[in-house]
């Protein structure tokens, strides 16, 4: 077990690599956890060290360290969300790296109309991973296109592993051979995120005949190889009717499923747009399934979920607060959907380099994003109303209106 430590404005951020949990501690706490996790010292050895260093009684050192480790232990509990991710960090905690635009499928809901074939050179991808790690970024999501069209995917995964990054790999699971699975099983701290949009009939309608069967077979092999695996389901008008069946499918496999909302980027996407009230209805149902039935369901609408549960307000996503996207050209992106929607001019986005944390903190596109509405999805607002600060039909304001009507209906009944 290892940890990564970096200094934030008012604390030291400790990232527990295997558990993927973060906790903010003071300097003494960070040094103690470093000794425990990274230097293989026992708690007693650490107590002796601190007792000598600070010239305090050994009993006091033991008591303070014992209490601190208990406090830290509470933070590792997986049934919660990381509050620090919500704060404005000095550097991203996680980054998404677009390594290829190439894909073997032509899904109905894909944002990409061109389907060109471009790969980020391995040398550049390796360099980016190194710089991210040197600056305390802990999580990397490798995205495409289809990452298994990337010619050097295994080499890049090894780079990530050598840098002690936690890795998410988003794939359609149709190109993963047995040989690849054997290699993936050797990569530490990897989670495979498989895009599935329904059960067989619907998934094949969206992604092509026979695709579900291939993906299903691969998922079962990944599970058998003890590789962490999740699914992600993009809700649209076509698959909204099968989300419950899909959850049962995932439950049957013993893997979590995550839900996001379809965004229309193309003219021919109109028919896939899901009715917002239907989406809210599903969202409430998903939350009930997660809380009451303990189903492993993930939802992207953090602001709405926080509102529904009566928790402190939350942003819709972590873009620019603790997250960063790097596109195929090596440019830093606030939100990839905004980029895809044409919000940015090609020369407007800064180039990723060794000084990226300062760029991330200070560049005007990131500053402008932060000063816009973070409680809702700026990309959806742009796509549906033409303004990043405009109306997001699936956002918090729309939900509050829907929820008010819904509660009034229930009371009337």
């Amino acid at each position: 077990m290892k940890i990564k430590i970096r200094q934030e404005k008012d604390c030291f951020l400790v990232y527990l690599l295997d558990a993927r949990r973060i906790v903010g501690v003071n300097q003494a706490g960070a040094a103690i956890l470093d000794m425990l996790f990274n230097r293989d010292m026992t708690a007693e050895e650490i107590s002796q060290t601190t007792s000598q260093k600070w010239d305090i009684p050994i009993e006091q050192a033991r008591q303070e360290i014992g209490d601190f480790l208990e406090q830290t232990n509470v933070e590792v509990d997986p049934n919660g969300f990381n509050v620090l991710e919500e704060e404005q960090l000095v550097a991203p905690l996680g980054a998404e790296l677009e390594i290829t635009t190439d894909c073997n499928l032509r899904c109905l809901h894909c944002y990409d109309e061109v389907h060109d074939v471009r790969h980020m050179p391995l040398e550049i991808a390796n360099r980016i991973i190194g710089i991210l790690d040197d600056n305390g970024v802990c999580e990397i999501s490798l995205i495409g296109g289809e990452p298994f069209r990337y010619p050097w995917i295994m080499e890049l995964l090894e780079t990530c592993q050598n840098r002690d990054m936690t890795i998410n790999l988003v794939s359609n699971a149709t190109l993963i051979t047995d040989e690849i699975i054997a290699k993936l099983a050797t990569i530490k701290r990897l989670v495979m995120v498989i895009s599935l949009d329904g059960t067989q009939e619907i998934h094949d309608y969206i992604r092509g005949k026979g695709v579900f069967q291939k993906a299903d077979a691969t998922i079962r092999k990944l599970i058998a190889a003890n590789i962490a695996c999740e699914t992600i389901f993009t809700l649209n008008s076509v698959n909204a009717s099968v989300y419950r069946e899909f959850i049962e499918y995932c439950e049957g496999l013993g893997i979590p499923c995550n839900f996001s909302i379809f965004k229309p980027f193309r003219e021919d996407h109109k028919d896939l747009i899901i009715d917002p009230d239907k989406f809210f209805e599903i969202l409430i149902d998903l939350m009930n399934m997660r809380i009451k039935k303990k189903y492993k369901v993930g939802m992207a609408s953090a602001a709405i979920v926080a509102e529904l549960l009566g928790f402190p307000p939350r942003n819709e996503c972590r873009a620019t607060k603790s997250g960063l996207v790097i596109n195929i050209d090596g440019h830093m992106v606030t939100c990839p959907s905004l980029e895809t929607a044409g919000f940015y001019q090609p020369d407007q986005l800064p180039v990723f380099d060794e000084n990226f944390t300062r760029t991330w903190q200070e560049h005007e596109v990131f500053e402008n994003f932060r000063h816009s509405n973070l409680r809702e999805c700026q990309a959806r607002a742009l796509l549906f109303s033409g303004d990043v600060n405009g109306y997001d039909p699936y956002g918090l304001t729309a939900f509050i209106k829907y929820w008010g009507t819904r509660k009034a209906e229930v009371q009337t009944i």
């Binding site: 906790v23 919660g80 895009s195 999740e230 492993k296 926080a306």
Partner: protein, 64 residues
């Protein structure tokens, strides 16, 4: 990572999680990104359990 020169009681000063069943998700463009339910997978649950056991043992070893 060095200990401070002067005595400082080690503390969690920014609790990293609250007992809420939600995660900061990212819906990316249309079909992926940082998943919202990461922690609910059995692998990460197991890793969390191992980490908690490790911390618990370290703490209790000082109390005995």
């Amino acid at each position: 990572m060095e200990l401070p020169k002067e005595h400082e009681q080690p503390k969690v000063i920014k609790p990293g999680s609250t007992p809420e069943p939600i995660e900061a998700g990212c819906c990316l463009r249309s079909c992926g990104g940082k998943p919202g339910g990461m922690q609910s997978g059995k692998h990460l649950q197991n890793r969390c359990a191992e980490t908690m056991a490790f911390l618990g043992q370290a703490s209790s070893s000082l109390m005995s």
